[in-house]
Every structure is written in structure tokens, then in C-alpha cells.
Symmetry: C2
Subunit: 413 residues, 2 copies
Amino acid sequence: MTSALFDFGPLLAAGLPPPAAKWTGLAKFSFIGGNNDPEQVPVDGLIAALTAALQREGKTLATYGLAGGPQGYRPLREFLAAKLGRDAGIAATADDILIVSGSLQALDLVNHTLLQRGDTVIVEQETYQGALTRLGRLGVSTVGIPLDRDGMRMDALASTLAELRGGGVRPKYIYTIPTVQNPTGTIMPEARRAELLRLSQEHGVPIFEDDCYADLVWDGQRPPAIHAMAVNGGVIHIGSFSKSIAPALRVGFIVAPWEMLSRMLALKTDAGSGALEQMALAEYCAPHFATHVPKLTRGLRVKLDVLMEALNAQFGTTAEFEAPKGGIFLWVKLPDNVDTLKLCQAALAAGVAINPGPEWSTNKVDAASRLRLCFANPSSEQIREGVAVLADVCRREFGVPVRIANVERAARA
Amino acid sequence: MTSALFDFGPLLAAGLPPPAAKWTGLAKFSFIGGNNDPEQVPVDGLIAALTAALQREGKTLATYGLAGGPQGYRPLREFLAAKLGRDAGIAATADDILIVSGSLQALDLVNHTLLQRGDTVIVEQETYQGALTRLGRLGVSTVGIPLDRDGMRMDALASTLAELRGGGVRPKYIYTIPTVQNPTGTIMPEARRAELLRLSQEHGVPIFEDDCYADLVWDGQRPPAIHAMAVNGGVIHIGSFSKSIAPALRVGFIVAPWEMLSRMLALKTDAGSGALEQMALAEYCAPHFATHVPKLTRGLRVKLDVLMEALNAQFGTTAEFEAPKGGIFLWVKLPDNVDTLKLCQAALAAGVAINPGPEWSTNKVDAASRLRLCFANPSSEQIREGVAVLADVCRREFGVPVRIANVERAARA
């Protein structure tokens, strides 16, 4: 190189997020991200499914969209229509479904269809970090509604909607994760869903229902989807195969009225989502989904128990949590003096990755001493070791947990 | 349903594109889109590759990014680094490459990193429709540079850059498809690439090199990539597996300085591109790419000949074109009185899909009587039949081609 390096700096668009750091590998003990249990990926089933689908129709890979149009591989949409009817009570046909590249693309498509800078949306006070980040980048105001053990509180939602209306603000949507809420793990009962729909209709604010974790309920029982209960079509429903099969596949879906699907399709200028994933899922899931998922959730339930036992052993009463009704994460409260943003950095230096509470909440003060721990990916052994390291770091940084009897016992185990 | 349907209309963001129409299937004779030859998809090779890769490391599907970080599956990036070095002269390592969901995501990431409303970019006068559409939606001004048989004309580029500089405008990039230009099929010679780089450096305007079709050169010889010739790093290079393997896979890549990659990574909030496609490509391509591509291009060359013969037979001298040096499309000039936007509609009604010229050019007047015909997907039989139907429609609508001897001869063949 003889000349000075080209400087892109002056050409960058305004308002870009900070540049990404170079990736340095996964933490030794990783309790972050929606990663799943590697032992539960149905590898042999996926190989058999791909082989069968490709032998039958591999030549269609030569055509964008597998010659099935921009809404996605039709057999996958047909599986979903049947599954959503059976599990969630949703009466949808393949034509009502849009396959997307993970539910993150679903978030983007819904957001870009409805939102512009200065808009307001309603979210659950504790909610998915990726949703909050996106809304922040779009310059949208988020109003968080507190949760209780049954999910979003309707008294708080009613007063917030009334207040916003009083100020002349019509929110663009109410974003909810009603079935295994992220990060709290609650499930909104049917009666509260009905009340949510009533408020949605009264205020003319649609519901954006994110059902990404809905397959992972311990007892296999879930209320009908809000989409299923809506008589007026004012619900956009999204879901994913990331939690039920494997996150690296990047396949999600949207169920919405054509009025909205047609707008989102116009924005989905990616020439279709990945064909192999769609073929693999359609071929595998039609015969196997209903037996795969209960097996998966039994394994996850065991890991949750390991995590809760490890927290009790290492943190004693210092760590407060409620067992979630399903899912892959636990929402934990530490003593008020613990700043989980700082804990996160110190823990990472010790090889333990956690999600600090403030990134998963609109209430940064309340969430300051909370954290999210994902338990699906690490082995039981890693969960025990990782929690022990986390407790050590927390003790060193914040003086809690103090060394107590059961901690000593655990250390000898 | 007892209540009125929810009306999303008042909630839609401003400036959305028109809603998508319902998909009604592929045209009987389809000469549009970057579809490939179904007979040339290496189905058995992909099945073997997927089986091997999944047996070895299928459990990593449980982790976003296959435990390889956000830049994409490392073995695929390593294959690309080797391939780009061998074929295009690019000295890149796996760390310089970002795997994306098709080169369309590459366009989006580059655009969102550099562009904002009111900016100016330079493009080739005839260029990829998807690039023009994106720039239009972003509110960016496009200045088209005329092409000749060697691609973008440097005299015209020099005067345009000088003119823009005179007006105080620094374009954000020069977008070029130098190797099998879309839609004209030209290949820019090495000397002109050097001149392009000189102008780029003189004016401080980076080059955005789209090498999507660069594998499909009839004689297998291609000049070094512009990226390979740049000593100052001012080139963003993108490519794709859509044309060399299969478009439905949706795998593309970006080679750029970390200064740019780190910005694009920060905008790539999709939690990774599809894992199965990346695994399949890495495993298949490392041993087979170098033998697959020449076989593919030989088949495409045959189809091009079929198309040119059919055009000569059906349109006679009414259709003017130059044989491209590679690729999957032919850029055709019809008599001035033919409006290909109208022809496109009439042909579609007769079962023939074509790309009208004005959608592939910044010069709508010059392109009004031109069209793009993709020849990879239809069979030779369909090409002949489709061109015959197209000629009939064109004759009916515009009076050309007149019935001439060779048309009669072709009809009897």
C-alpha cells in the first residue's frame, strides 16, 4: 500500500449505531441469547427431512421463492396453519401467513409498516431487549405497562390508554408477549386476554402479539392466542421456530390481515427467506413437531430446576425469582445495591455472560438490580459452575451474597 | 364476526410503497428474475454436503450464528477468501468477509451505512432494477453514466464527477457491476478498472462493486476485481451464490474494510443469516465449486444461443442485441415505436414475462424500447415458444416484427 487508506468516515449516514466490536467468541458460561439446548436439536430428523424434500423438489431451488411466491414455502405455511389452529386456536390458512427470516424480521416489517419517528407504542414494562432497541433506533416513544404474575396489568393499561388519549396520542400498537413472557415467564390468562382485546378495540390500538416462546409451556397447556380471540382482526401475530427447533435456522412467521400482509410484503425486498430452512422445517415438523416439543420442554424444565437449585445454593435468599411457566430464561432480582450493568461487565471478565435487567425493561431504576439468565444452552454442569462464578463475582463487587451455610455445602458438592 | 373489521389504514407510516398484489403464480414463459437453470442445481451434492455438515456439527444449530459469530459460518468465509483470491485476485481473509442473506441484504446494509435522503450516488445508466428501486425509496438522487461495450464510460464518469464537484456535490459511491454487467452483459477491462479507481481516488468517492454475476463468464476468464486492484481500500465488494449455485438459498457476502464492516454489522440485527444454506454451501463448494461452475456456464451458453436464434428467427433484424460475455440475461433493443412497458403488460396477459427496459435504466427515454430477457430458467423449448408468443404480441401491439421470410421458416421448423 503506497497511498493513504480511504476514509469512509465523512461519508457515513447520520445517526448510525456505534460500530460493532470484533467478535471474540462465546463466553465460557453463557446465560444470554435465545440459544437452545444443543442436545435437543433433532439433527437426524432434519437430515432425513432435507434429504426427502431436496430429492423431491430440489430443482425448485433454481427459482426465487421456490416457485411458491413471496409469502414463503407453501408446505411450511400449511403446516403452520394446521399447528396454529390446533395449539393456539387461530383460524388461518396458508394465505394468511408470511414466512420471514426469523421473528426479528417480523418485528422490522411490522415496525416499518406502522411506525415513524415521534410515534408512541405501548410495551410491557419488562420486555424483549431487541424490541426496545429497535423502537429506540426508530425514534419511537415506548410506554411500559407493569406486569404481575398474569402478565401485563390491565388496570395500568387502561389508565395509560386513557391518559394518552387525553393527551391526543393514539399509540400505534400494544406489543405483548403474552405466552411465556420475555423475560418474566408469565402466561396471560384467557380472561385478561379478553380484557386486553376490549381495551384495544375501545381505543383503536392494534395488538402486536409476539408468541415466540409459546410452544415451550411446561404443562403443554396454553390459552388461545389473542389473535384467535379477536373478532375484528386487529391483531398481528408473530412466531418463530427458533425456540422449538433451532435458532440458527432463522425462520419466523407473521399472521395478519391481508391489509397488513400486503404492506409488509411490499417492504420485504429480500427475494424470499432461506429455502433450505423452510423445506427442512416443513418436512420435519409436519410429522414430528407434536412429539418433539414435549420432549424438548421436559429437558428444559430439568435445566430450569438445575438453575434454580444452583441459585439457591450459591445466592441463598439473595436471589429472588419465580419459576416461569415455560421458556428458556429466568428473571432474577438481586439486592438493591447490585447494579447488574456493572455485574454484567465483571462477570463477563470472569467468563460468565448474563443479560442485565435495564436492557430488558422500560423502567431502568426498577430493573437495575435484576438480570435475565437463559438456561437452555449451557449443560447442567455449566449452569452450576457458571452460577458459582457469578456469585463469586457478585460477592466481590457488591458484597452479596454473603457466604452462607448452603453456599459452603454447594462448594463441597 | 359481529364487529367492524379493524382499520389499519390511519395507522400506516407515511411514504409506504403500494401494497403487494396477491401472487398468482409464475408466468408460463418466464424471462424475468435472476432464476437459474433447474437442471443445473447440484441437488445430490447439496444433500451430501448437508448430511455431512449436519452429522458433524448439527448441534451448533442450537446457537445463533452457529457459535461462529455474527460475520457468518467460518468455513464458508474461508472458502470465499480462497475463491476470491483465486478467481478475482482479492486478498481477503475470513475476517474481512460478512455473510449476508443474499446480495440484496448487502445492498441494504451498504445503503443504510452511507446514504440519507438527498444524497447522490453514481450508477451505470443501465443497471440492476433492485438497486434503482432501493435508491428511489431512500430519496437518493442517481446519476447514470452511459455504457459502451467495455462497461461504464470513463470519459462520461470523469465529466460527471467534475460537474458534481463543481456543484458542491460529493457522491456517496459509484455503483458498478463491472463483471457481466446487468443488464448489458459487458465486462469492464482491467485498464478501465484502473481508470475508475483513479477517478474514485481523485474525487474521494468510494466504489461499490457488485460482482454477483462474475462467476458466469463463458470463457472462464475475468479481470481482477476492482477491490483487488485498489491499494487504498476504497472499494466495497459484494457477491452472491444465487447465480453460481441457486437463488433460493439467499446467501451473499460483503468484502470491505473493517471500518465499514463494523458499521454494517451494527445494522445487521437479524441474528445471523440462515445456517443450513451456509453449511450446505461451505461443504459443497470447497470441493465442487471449481468444477460445477464451468459445467453450469456451458449449459447457460447453450440457452443463450437458443434465445438469440429464436429472436433472430421470430424478430429478424427488428431485435438488436450483442451477445453477452456471460450471465443469464440478454439486453434487447426493439424498434423505437415499441414501448416495452406496454409490451410487458400485453405479453404477460399472453403468458410471457419480460423485464421492460425503463425499469433497468436511469434513462427512461433511451430504454423505452429495450427489454431484458433472462434465459437460465426456461427450457430451450420454452425459450423458443415464449419468444414466438412475444413476437406475436409485439406484432399485434406495435406492428413489428413484420412477417418476414425467416419468421416463416422458423414457424415451419
